[in-house]
Symmetry: C2
Subunit: 478 residues, 2 copies
Amino acid sequence: MSPDQFRELGRRMVDWIADYMERVESLLVLSRATPGEVGAALPAAAPERGEPWDAIFGDLERIIVPGLTHWQSPNFFAYFPCNASGPGILGELLSAGLNVNGMMWATSPAATELETRMLDWMARAMALPEKFVSTSANGGGCIQGTASESTLIAMIAARARAGPGADLVAYASAHAHSSIVKAAMILGIARGPEDRERVRLIEVDGSYRTRPEALEGAIRADLEAGRTPFFVCATVGTTSTTSVDPLDEIGGVLARAGLAGRTWLHVDAAHAGPAMLCEEFRWMFRGVEHADSVCMNPHKWMLTNFDCDLFWTSDREALVSALSITPEYLRNAASESGAVIDYRDWQIPLGRRFRALKLWFVLRHYGLEGLRAHLREHVRLAAMLERWVAADARFELAAPRTLNLVCFRLRGEGAGAEDANRRLMEALNASGRMYLTHTVLNGRTVLRVAIGASGTQERHVADAWGLIQRTAGEVLGA
Amino acid sequence: MSPDQFRELGRRMVDWIADYMERVESLLVLSRATPGEVGAALPAAAPERGEPWDAIFGDLERIIVPGLTHWQSPNFFAYFPCNASGPGILGELLSAGLNVNGMMWATSPAATELETRMLDWMARAMALPEKFVSTSANGGGCIQGTASESTLIAMIAARARAGPGADLVAYASAHAHSSIVKAAMILGIARGPEDRERVRLIEVDGSYRTRPEALEGAIRADLEAGRTPFFVCATVGTTSTTSVDPLDEIGGVLARAGLAGRTWLHVDAAHAGPAMLCEEFRWMFRGVEHADSVCMNPHKWMLTNFDCDLFWTSDREALVSALSITPEYLRNAASESGAVIDYRDWQIPLGRRFRALKLWFVLRHYGLEGLRAHLREHVRLAAMLERWVAADARFELAAPRTLNLVCFRLRGEGAGAEDANRRLMEALNASGRMYLTHTVLNGRTVLRVAIGASGTQERHVADAWGLIQRTAGEVLGA
């Protein structure tokens, strides 16, 4: 495709996306496609000859759009958000246009150095301890695809630090993300999802936070049995309820057990991390100085397109030594000088996209003030929804709210209440006018409304609550 | 950012990229940035307030462009190529605009079903066995970020198939990619890059292909010692020389050892895979029916932006069972129906970008004919360069050419010849007018010219050869 044809089609695509931004609110947020429907609308084989772009744009509208669940809809309240933004899209576009592979410093110095600087900017903006900044003795950060990958590499570094031959045990909250057990499965430490033997899922308190006493008991029992507690994952903002594990108390547990500086403490702040830009939420990170690594996802709630997970460690040596391998064809003078960072040694893949561009654009376009305003507004809306739920006697709040996630349910116990809550969720999602998901707390189905889509404003939350109230009336009346 | 501001800035960015496409040939292909130079040009802290886009575009030109190694330059002959194209960029742009997370079918049915269809299109276009197509009993494919990730998940599936408690051993060519050993390190099977104990790096023949007899001997010795040969990686297109392991003979080795259907055979065709679109290169895949998994990278040499690695398996059950874990908050009716694919269980991360769009655009814009023409032209240019090298008595060809990579060196033995070849490479790369990298074969430095950048035409190869000849004269005369 010639530059001129790209110029023309690029403008057409930009316009299509701008139009999509304007209309996404009016689309059914959850796709009604049935299994196989999209696939059946596509030809069985690739075309032998090139096709015109009018046909491609036509199929985009006819086949793809109805098959999408619109994560950019302001009526998307499911899971956690996945924030796109204008600057984020421009960053992805530029990254695609340059299409450099930043696997090593030498293969594009700007890709590595902009990324290092962005991680330092963010570390300072979140008031992370100095040991996570790239200019510290043994720290620094980089962009991973997802928090799952951060968990995995943290666990790999932890294993390297523990050394060979040890009988390894990991610890995480019973509410920790599934990626912790998945990482242990990948590393061969846990045999499968049901293998709790090697990843101890620690009991939580009434607010769904890791109970430090329970963690301490588990660690002591393992030490007595001659096992090595090599990895602890603390979650700041769990997926089910955004509960916050007490980092300072967990640090204390490790210190009392003589494991400080030995057991690797990873902080998974995938969703809540961006809130650390705001001073009033920094209590969540009290004790983060005990951590060996921290991750958070600008791609969730910080207006930076997926994928963008930020990972910091204060022990890059352990990480790099566990992941570095240098065949002849990758050797180069810059790497051998020791004066540069080769991010290939900080991650699972070899190749890497220039993802720092989108973060740079987001930080410069919005400024820290703009990002704080985005976060604070959603927390305000969640507090508002929380009050509305509390004021409706048919509902109960199901977990403490820490940020922008409200967990609630129709009151009642037993199968009838379970059924009512499930039917409420299904009816809301079938409406196409909002999308929310559930979790289970203490054996009871709980609805989750995560307020964080890039475009979600007060009126969307108010409309959603109105719909929830009316639908609840139908479900309870039926 | 409002849709209208995005419309305006999106057009500006599209124009910037179109201009970049036009001028990239004239830029110094290898950046002359020194360590720390790019970082030093960036402020120490993120801005508190948003900045204007004129400043951002200015810094892009002033700080980023000089810090790039231009993988899209037609004078880029290093490593393997990293193909961008107009349709590929449009696909990335659209993916960013929609910003859906296709972790499960339910979270965007079109993302999953378009991807499944694209993998089927490609399997058929490459004449892969039917067992790799999604409608087969236990097969199918998906997009991974890189071939390293494909290797890793193949090894994970292989370990699951071998079952618990086995004393595992893996096998790969001594010329296999470093990601094989890295995967074994991640899985905890190899302790480190020097641990050849668990990944047997099998001797190659004079053409740098795995010697089947050597593989057979290693497997027999391990079986006799009670170990379990759980994984064999065959490489179709090695990084150093694009040599091709004999798949049919490797399949025969496994059959004779009674390991067919037990030991997992993975085919890493990261670079050479796209050539399977052309019938004349399909000899390289003779015996691929013995494989349990295959991967290849459209992001290398098939005009599809990074990242896009295609992975197929004929044993999706082993893969999914090894990677699946379902917390309550991800449960949904579609997944539980068993009628859909949830690609989160085919990969390391949970979240996933809508990467199938770019592959769809590339296949429809160029058609298979257009892609074959792209591949064949580069093979023709490589054959041409090979003849030129052979005709210059100062040089010798250093490895058989199978596709678009030419390996050669200045003749001579010992330190003097080593030094001359290193100085030749350094002088060429310092010129900024071409970029090539090296490998070491039989202890001797060899220069690699990989002809595959999206825009590389005959005149670029002719200019490069002229420069190589002149620079060789200077190096030898000095």
